[in-house]
Amino acid sequence: MQRQRRKIFKVSPHRRHGGTIATMKEPILEVVNVSYSYKTERGPIPVLKDISFSVHYHEFVSIVAPTGTGKTTLLRIIAGLRKPDSGKVLLMGEEVRGPTPKLAMIFQDFALFPWLTALENVELALMHRKDLNKEVKRKIARKYLALVGLEGFEDYYPRELSGGMKQRVAIARALAAQPVVLLMDEPFANLDAITAEGLRSEVYNMVFNEESTVKAIVMVSHNLEEVVELSDKVIILGGKPAGIIAEVDVELPRPRNTRDAEFQDYLDRLYSLLSISLRT
């Protein structure tokens, strides 16, 4: 069963756009009634309560909330890095019980290992693959670095790269793990405005690319403009402990133009929803 599924992953990128109707309807990722609380000296503090949503094939979903709501925690729960107090996360119908290469995460501070070169950082994603030898791993890592536009920077250390390049390495590393779902935790927050804009416009094509296995993206952000620019669906969290306040489908053709009237309408709607979430 497991082996068969793997096979499907490997084949599917080539026929993504001709994917069968069945796969498109079934959610790839489901979050079911997830609740979570921080454990502190003074007892647990609830942060997330009964959160449920699902992500479908080729969908870009954003989670939006004011700072300190626990959206990063939610993303870590989805990634299997934290265990929810109750509820579960299903990836293609199977419960996520710990970190898995099928769920790759991109971090706000890039989380690159400062003592490894760009290439070595990407190779790290292939460490657990015992079936590949060193040369093959190196080749795959090079391929993904090239995909994010960093050909020629393989032997640079993170400290020698600019913020935008670091985030590209992080994206390459995440893609090299050949995930089904890509999780992004405020991926543009630590970049300057111009770099962020450039990377934003590229990221969609980088991730939903022939070479990539990614079938869906979940992003956490508090920048509404980037959310509207990128997402198919926006989930707004609010309250204490946080629950889902609203789900908004963004139905705009791509590539999207931030100056379009429709774009601005979506932006306004999200702003008003978010201000409600702040009040609750």
């Binding site: 454990k39 502190t40 000296e41 870590r76 990634a79 890095l81 970190p99 898995t100 290469p101 769920l103 790759a104 995460m105 971090f107 706000q108 501070d109 890039f110 989380a111 290992f113 400062p114 003592w115 490894l116 790290l124 994603a125 460490m127 657990h128 250390y157 400290r159 590393r173 793990a177």
Partner: protein
């Protein structure tokens, strides 16, 4: 004939130094490797963390050497012979170097960024993979910051511990410390000086050939934004027009100074500043929350240990504890008086070191030329153990000065100087880092406001340097005690024994005459003293230093 005997001496000295260095290297590497696993365990398990930290914080400031006689007796009794002595020496050096290194490793692992840990988890690196790619590299800068000090500490203790007289028996292992002590007590001064010369050359070689390159390499592993700042700050001095004429005349000299600056200084600053700053400024993460099970397990362990201790004391009550208590009952007042005397010496030496360190550091921080020349010299001096050249500096004090000043004043002065020499480098070193890391902008403001030198010292340099100085105090006090230990009781110089009134002198005397009960009684008092000190002084002081530092916000990342 004469030449060949000199060569023999040099070769013997080189071999002995290699043996000594081998011990040092072995113990340092062992502490580093053990520290990775213990630090990791402490970070992952709240119960272990509590125990680990209490032990380290208590033992960090202990003058380990004062417990050496008991350790030696233990090892010689249970293992015996040369191997027992060898293990006792290695153990002593281990206890001298290990705490700094362990604290550094623990704190590095504890402050690993959450996202790096999550990334390692997500990439499924596995237990060894996580060590290899995350936990080991992340400790490298702190290890580098501590390794220079550990090397010097280890040398200091090993040189004195290689030869020790217990009652009528002398225990010694092959090494440069034992060799020099032997030559001195036989009055073979040429040999002793040659041996010392070999030691100095080899210390310098290790320092510049191994430790510096290691530090240079390890610092690459850190991500400290400060390093960029310091690097830009110690670039070649801006050459003014008058200096330009000077340059034209002495261009080779200037090039040489500049080269020293580039090659030597960054390493030193990077490593030391990283270690101290990391300790002061990294956000202290809360300790792990104990689960209920862990609390019960901890309680059970505590009860078991207390029960075991009680039983151990009970079973040896008549044979061991009654004599000790009698001894304390009979001589307790004397012991406390001597303890007080030694603490007075420690306080005076520490104050003197701070007073000396302030102008030296101010000069170095404000004048780049002075810094370029002085810093490598200071660093080398710090690494040559006083204990090795003690017999040589002791000569005038027991001959000429003893006659002019009187033997008591002369010996007192000697003790002070030796303790000072074993302390002052570390005080300078710690304070230097504090002063050097005061942001450039604050110096600019001070210049802009036309503050006088005195005002700059009082308002900027001293308060800026204090947190780093205080944080280093626990270990410098340990060094002072080491200095007292070697200088208060000098044996075998011209066949005489010289001692002053002091706690370590009496312990050394007891060791020499083989009064084990007295030694045990004194070690017990010292142990209690050390624990009280750790609980009531050091921990509070560190917290204070850290908090004040944060309040001032003097250092911005």
């Amino acid at each position: 004939m004469y030449v060949s005997s000199i060569i023999t001496i040099i070769i013997t000295a080189i071999l002995a130094t290699l043996a000594t260095f081998g011990r040092v290297a072995l113990t340092i590497i062992l502490s580093i490797v053990l520290g990775w696993f213990l630090g990791y365990a402490a970070v992952k398990n709240g119960l272990f963390e509590g125990v680990f930290l209490s032990i380290i914080q208590t033992l960090e400031a202990v003058p380990v050497i004062t417990f050496f006689p008991l350790v030696l007796i233990f090892f010689v009794k249970s293992i015996g012979g040369y191997i027992g002595t060898e293990l006792a020496v290695d153990f002593l050096v281990f206890t001298a170097v290990v705490w700094n290194i362990w604290v550094g490793e623990y704190e590095s692992i504890k402050t690993t960024s959450q996202s790096l840990e999550d990334a390692a988890e997500m990439l499924r690196l596995g237990f060894w993979g996580k060590f290899r790619y995350l936990y080991i590299p992340i400790t490298m800068p702190r290890i580098a910051g501590n390794v220079l000090v550990s090397f010097a500490d280890a040398l200091f203790y090993i040189v004195v511990s290689e030869v020790i007289t217990l009652g009528t028996t002398q225990y010694s292992v092959f090494g440069i410390g034992a060799l020099i002590a032997n030559w001195v007590s036989n009055g073979e001064w040429t040999d002793a000086f040659t041996g010392l010369g070999v030691l100095i050359v080899m210390v310098t070689a290790v320092l510049f050939g191994i430790l510096r390159p290691f530090v240079n390499w390890a610092v690459k592993y850190s991500y400290d934004p400060l390093m960029e700042v310091t690097r830009t700050r110690i670039r070649r001095p801006v050459v003014t027009s008058r200096a330009r004429i000077f340059v034209a005349r002495n261009i080779r000299y200037i090039r040489r100074v500049a080269a020293i600056e580039d090659a030597v200084m960054p390493v030193f600053i990077k490593a030391s500043s990283y270690a101290i700053r990391h300790r002061l400024t990294t956000r202290p993460r809360p300790r792990n929350v104990l689960t209920v099970t862990e609390k019960y397990v901890g309680l059970a362990f505590g009860v078991a240990i207390i029960a075991w201790l009680t039983y151990a004391i009970y079973s040896t009550w008549q044979s061991t504890w009654v004599p000790i208590i009698n001894d304390i009952y009979n001589h307790g007042i004397l012991y406390l008086y001597y303890l007080g005397l030694d603490w007075l010496r420690v306080v005076l030496v520490t104050l003197a070191s701070i007073v000396i360190a302030i102008p030296i550091n101010y000069l170095m921080v404000t004048n780049r030329r002075v810094e370029a020349i002085l810093l490598p010299i200071l660093e080398d001096l710090a690494s040559i153990p006083v204990s090795a050249y003690l017999p040589l500096i002791a000569i005038p004090f027991v001959t000429y000065l003893a006659v002019t000043l009187g033997i008591h004043a002369s010996l007192e002065l000697l003790v002070f100087i030796v303790a000072f020499l074993s302390t002052v480098w570390y005080v300078i070193y710690n304070m230097y880092v504090g002063m050097k890391t005061i942001p450039r902008s604050l110096w600019d403001v001070a210049d802009n406001l036309k503050l006088s030198t005195w005002q700059k010292l009082r308002r900027l340099a001293i308060p800026g340097a204090m947190p780093a100085t205080i944080t280093g105090l626990a270990s410098t006090v340990g060094s002072t005690w080491g200095g007292l230990e070697v200088a208060e009781y000098i044996q075998g110089l011209n066949g005489h024994v010289y001692m002053v009134h002091g706690y370590t002198a009496l312990m050394d005397y007891y060791t020499a005459v083989g009064n084990i009960v007295g030694l045990e009684a004194m070690s017990l008092i010292l142990a209690i003293n050390v624990i009280l000190l750790s609980v009531f002084v050091w921990r509070r002081l560190f917290r204070l230093a850290r908090e004040r530092y944060r309040l001032e916000g003097a250092i911005t990342l």
